[in-house]
């Protein structure tokens, strides 16, 4: 089922913005409300927008099911390895060994009200990114499966 040209063009314009906003929510997960799941869901909304506006057959070239499955696997593996990385530093699974080291995501958070520093929180941004990628892939695959059944409504 294809919608009018206005809707299709608007969806095309909005799609990158959806992705960028979702990415923003993912990356600022440790500073503002939101995080991996919420940001991933926002990104998947962009895919839903495209599928609804265009016909399902036209969209499979732009959003591929296999690519999304691989994205899902990559996200989950990122999460798992971020958790396992603690073990290599002789800490337990999921230990936050990156926090307060001064390196990547290692700044110490200042006390008192402040706008927030992206380069803090250690392992958490990595976990957020992993979850974000996973949710984007997973939800898009679900959407593709569920919306593949939509047929052209019969004209009365």
């Amino acid at each position: 089922m294809k919608m009018t040209k206005i809707v299709r063009t608007t969806a095309d314009v909005f799609y990158p913005f959806c992705l960028v906003f979702g990415l923003y929510v993912v990356i600022h997960g440790h500073l503002t409300p939101g995080g991996g799941f919420q940001g991933g869901a926002v990104m998947a909304t962009g895919a839903a927008l495209l599928i609804v506006a265009h016909a399902y057959e036209d969209i499979t070239g732009r959003i591929r099911k296999t690519a999304m499955k691989i994205l899902e696997a990559i996200g989950l593996l990122t999460f798992l390895f971020a958790g396992l990385s603690g073990i290599l530093f002789h800490r337990p699974f999921m230990a936050n060994w990156m926090a307060q080291t001064g390196k990547l995501f290692g700044n110490t958070v200042a006390h008192g009200p402040n706008p927030g520093d992206l380069n803090t929180a250690g392992l958490l941004p990595l976990l957020n990114v992993g979850v974000g990628i996973e949710v984007l892939g997973g939800l898009t695959v679900i959407l593709l499966y569920m919306l593949s059944g939509i047929k052209e409504e019969k004209k009365p």
Binding site: T66, K69, I70, E72, A73, L76, L77, L80, G83, L84, G86, I87, R91, P92, F93, M94, A95, N96
Partner: protein
């Protein structure tokens, strides 16, 4: 160096390994059949090895604690707080017993499924879900955190439902999957509500610290009901058993065999909550709790077996027998719980009854898994599960017949198979508690034997039939999978004493020793 490093992180690796195997499956699936099968085999082998190593470590050195994300794995209490805030795995001897069960049966079942499912499409999803199910069940039995338990319960329910519906089978399998998913979700919501009630009162999610703080207010009783009823449903005890026949029948046989293990993880959780979380509350008296389990058990035993006898579908029949066998475990442990306050009775027969119940869990996982796998082998070769149409298969599938015989004699409690060893413990000890219950248990065993003699006769005996002339012995992986389980059935039947001494008795002591479970976290505070 390497082995101490691995040994230190066993509880985390126990969950991480099946998850890793599952997550990599979409990528491995693209690399072809052989690579995928090798990956599945490797994943199952590693998971089982880690599970067994963890159990060995627990039985050798005592409770293993693993605190996630802390400074060290043993730091249960944060330096600036007097109560545990982190998620932790607490593996005592009872959890170790369950880990052994899951490890052994998951290995056999996965090897079996390599050949049994090879004709299906979408196998990478199947195996990803199977590994998620294994991870969920393993998580349920090792976690020491109530909310973490809920998460693993949901993981195992969802993966289980997806696997039940995996062979669409004209929609029947999907119907059964939907039924299972609906019931599991409603049950899990009740569990979550109970967790909310407990957390709101005591500000703790950790099992040990909750157990130490529990006051048994009216709300706690509500929480107990909300925890016990869904878990009794998930383990298939009788008033809530209606999902088992549908689910067990329509799922692929390898999945059914593992769903049996998954239902026993719920049984473990039920025991853990009654004994550890609500253990010290004498106001309500032990006998009430104990009789709750005993009544559930007797109902399950009797109704399960009477429903099983008239069934025509071999897997449906076995599903009802699974309900019936669950009753033995509930009966054994229930008798132990009923006399928990009476040190004299506990020592003379209570612990034996509990040992019988717990030993029956591991025995049941093995012989019932074996039976479901033989049913799957027959379905693979003949395409039917209808007992009236089957016959004469003993000529063409002799090994499957032998395995079926071993499983059937074990479930009926015939010596020298493992079912007899655990049932004998239950008969002896329950007789001293109440002779009537013991007689019911024996009658159910005889009915079980009668039912399986009938099945054996109609499937394997008689002249070879023309329509099954093509039926031949199963492929090697299925044979190995069934042989693994059959080996355990025979070995545990011939020499039950080492198993009871080194595996079951520590588990019974761990179940009774509530203060030890709490002290492992709170350090006797």
């Amino acid at each position: 160096m390497m082995d101490t490093f691995v040994m230190r992180h066993l509880p985390a690796l126990l969950i991480a390994t099946p998850l890793f195997a599952a997550f990599l499956m979409p990528l491995v699936g693209n690399a072809g059949r052989t690579v995928r099968s090798a990956w599945v085999f490797l994943g199952a082998l590693l998971t089982s090895a880690i599970g067994l190593a963890l159990a060995w470590k627990v039985l050798a050195t005592g409770t293993v604690l693993y605190v996630f994300g802390a400074a060290t794995t043993q730091q249960a209490l944060p330096p600036d707080a007097a109560f545990p805030i982190r998620i932790m795995f607490q593996v005592d001897a009872l959890s170790a017993l369950m880990a052994v069960i899951v490890s052994l049966s998951s290995l056999g079942i996965t090897i079996y499924s390599l050949a049994a499912e090879s004709k299906q499409s979408g196998l990478e999803t199947f195996y990803a879900m199977l590994f998620l199910l294994i991870a969920g069940v393993l998580g349920m039995v090792v976690t020491g955190d109530l909310f973490n338990f809920f998460v693993f319960l949901e993981i195992s329910s969802l993966a289980g439902a997806a696997l039940v519906a995996y062979r669409v089978d004209d929609g029947v399998a999907v119907e059964a999957g939907l039924k299972y998913a609906l019931l599991s979700t409603v049950g899990a919501l009740a569990v979550l509500t109970a967790i909310g009630i407990l957390f709101a009162q005591y500000n703790a999610l950790n099992l040990a610290s909750l157990a130490a703080r529990l006051q048994f207010t009216a709300l706690d009783k509500v929480a107990l009901v909300l925890l016990a009823v869904p878990l009794a449903m998930k383990c298939g005890a009788v008033p809530m058993h209606f999902w088992t026949p549908d689910t067990y029948t329509t799922a692929p046989s390898s999945v059914t065999a593992f769903l049996v293990v998954s239902s026993q993880a719920s049984l473990y959780a039920l025991f853990r909550i009654l004994f550890t979380l609500y253990g010290h509350l004498v106001q309500f008296s032990w006998a009430t709790f104990g009789w709750f389990l005993i009544v559930l058990g007797v109902l399950s035993m009797f109704i399960g077996v009477t429903m099983a006898i008239p069934q025509k579908d071999v897997k449906r029949l076995m599903a009802y027998h699974a309900v019936s066998q669950t009753g033995y475990m509930l009966l054994g442990v229930g008798v132990g719980l009923a006399v928990l306050g009476n040190a004299e009775a506990l020592k003379t027969y209570g612990k034996t009854a509990m040992a019988g119940g717990l030993f029956h869990i591991i025995n049941h996982a093995m012989y019932k898994g074996l039976l479901f796998l033989t049913a799957g082998a027959i379905f693979l070769r003949t395409g039917t599960r209808n007992l009236n149409r089957l016959g004469g298969l003993g000529h063409t599938m002799p090994w499957t017949m032998v395995f079926f015989m071993i499983g059937a004699l074990a479930i009926a409690g015939v010596p020298p198979f493992n079912g007899f060893a655990s049932k004998l413990l239950i008969y002896e000890s329950v007789f001293r508690f109440s002779p009537f219950l013991s007689i019911i248990a024996m009658v159910v065993s005889i009915l079980t034997l009668a039912s399986f003699v009938k099945v054996f006769h109609s499937m394997f005996l008689g002249p070879p039939r023309a329509e099954f002339a093509e039926a031949r012995e199963v492929p090697a992986p299925m044979f190995i999978g069934m042989a693994l389980l059959a080996l355990f059935v025979v070995v545990a039947g011939l020499m039950p004493q080492p198993f009871i001494d080194h595996l079951i008795s520590p588990a019974v002591d761990a179940l009774v020793d509530r203060s030890g479970y709490i002290a492992a976290i709170l350090g006797g505070r």
